[in-house]
């Protein structure tokens, strides 16, 4: 019988939640890496026992953890204890160094700061890890300050795909209040050379040659909070999602506005429709219905909590514009949590499960595509990310 494994990153550690296909009874494992900020934990589609985790700290910086047994044990690739004197370390899995070589890195030294001046690019943390669809040892990392790195040796070593920062608009990128993070990495399952990424607050970008060259894909976005509402870059994209069967169709939750593109991001149009507010962070797509999408509306950019204290997921079965609130099992009074951009996921079971975590430490599951919800856990630290693995 199938089962699911939910990987939860929180402000104070990681948790692994497991259940059978009914998704009623859950085992909770953790905290793993207690006390550390776990920005993201994700499993390899090519080998579900291979997990990668981003472990960060304002004190001690970035650590990359890897598991080869589904999260039972963890290792820091290349960071193992050296057996004896004179033996050099084999690598440093937490070493993310921007490419400043003349050939590929120039002139990637500064970006725009909040006050409009130029500011040095400084590595802070890994926001998102995206394992390859086909190779367990290949994984991409989206980092703050915004850049994309790739490892092809199981996270031992990392190399920047510098064409992203170097394509031309990099010096115009500016951080949002939460930092200038590259938070979304979508690998096209039909075209291995195509990758989509998104940056707060620079916008969305695409490569069609495996990461060598990139271009902005922000046409159609309108952001009233920037000087030029339709600028090529500067849009605060919060999250993008796609369905694997139709990777040219993208859904975006922007700072404000829910957007859709039917041509791989070349042009976007708004599908906020009847949403009570179109601010939010997450967006995801049903595992088996490419036109069924989910968002969690948040009141506004200054009030990061649900409208009226009611936690409601909104579902569209028409690819946007027509939305219905999903409330059964979710708190409908006095709820003032947020749902962060990486904190929603879907499983692959026949009755698609939908999951999300809150800054209040709850992780909710709906085993029936959003009709009914139940908390898996109530009282974790603030949830930063939720991923789900469907296991056979």
């Amino acid at each position: 019988m199938s089962s699911v494994r939910v990987l939860v990153g929180t402000r104070k550690g990681a948790f692994v939640l497991t259940s059978d296909g009914k998704r009623e009874k859950w085992d909770v494992s953790g905290p793993h890496f207690a006390g550390w900020e776990m920005y993201h934990v994700k499993g390899s589609p090519a080998d579900p026992n291979r997990l990668y985790a981003s472990q960060t700290s304002g004190w001690f910086g970035q650590i990359i953890q890897r598991s080869s047994d589904g999260g039972k044990t963890w290792e820091t690739p290349g960071g193992e204890k050296v057996p004896g004197p004179g033996e050099m370390p084999s690598g440093a899995s937490n070493k993310f160094v921007y490419d400043t070589t003349a050939e590929t890195g120039k002139p990637l030294t500064t970006h725009q700061w909040y006050d409009g001046t130029q500011h040095p690019w400084e590595f802070k943390r890994v926001w998102h890890l995206e394992p390859s669809l086909t190779d367990p040892d290949t994984v991409y990392a989206g980092v703050e300050d915004a850049a994309i790195f790739r490892s092809t040796d199981g996270a031992h070593s990392w190399h920047e795909l510098a064409g992203l920062r170097g394509h031309g608009t990099g010096p115009k990128w500016q951080p949002g209040a939460g930092g200038m993070g590259l938070h979304t990495i979508l690998l096209d399952p039909k075209n291995p050379d195509r990758i989509y990424i998104a940056i707060s607050s620079a916008g969305a970008f695409r490569t069609d040659d495996g990461g060598t060259t990139w271009k902005p894909i922000n046409q159609g976005l309108k952001s009233q909070y920037i000087p030029d509402a339709t600028a090529e870059v500067g849009h605060c994209v919060h999250r993008i999602a796609l369905h694997p069967s139709r990777p040219d169709v993208l859904f975006m939750q922007k700072h404000w506005d829910v957007m859709r593109s039917d041509n791989a991001g070349d042009l976007w149009h708004e599908v906020s429709g009847n949403l009570p507010t179109d601010f939010g962070f997450v967006v995801d797509v049903h595992a088996h219905e490419p036109e069924t999408i989910y968002v969690v509306p948040i009141k506004s950019d200054s009030e990061h909590f649900p409208l009226e204290g009611k936690l409601r997921v909104y579902r569209s079965r028409t690819g946007g514009n027509e939305w219905e609130p999903l409330t059964k099992g979710l708190p409908q009074r006095d709820c003032y949590v947020n749902v962060l951009r990486d904190a929603m996921a879907v499983d692959q079971l026949d009755s698609c499960g939908v999951y999300f975590g809150t800054t209040g430490g709850q992780v909710y599951v709906s085993p029936d595509a959003g009709d009914n919800w139940a908390p898996i856990v109530h009282d974790l630290p603030a949830v930063l990310s939720v991923e789900v693995q469907t296991l056979q």
Binding site: F60, Q62, I63, T76, G79, P89, S90, A92
Partner: protein
Amino acid sequence: MIRIVLPQHLRTLARVEGEVTVNVDGAVTQRSVLDALEARYPVLCGTMRDHVTQKRRPFIRFFACAEDLSHESPDAPLPDPVAKGAEPFLVIGAIAGG
């Protein structure tokens, strides 16, 4: 033999308990001690000093013999009691809390 006291999170990361010890050839300085520590426990690379600049991370400080050595040159000799193993070299994280 140089004795080093790490903050709890770094002890967990390096999978050690209590003090750790390293041997240093030549002058005993912040740099040579931290180099030896990172060579012995590579997982600590980047956690106390920046990978590229080798500057001390902002929320980390170094103490020994009741002295704050955080702002000393990384190549300045550490106090004799540290070099002789009589006193530990302390790696301290900034206090967190309300």
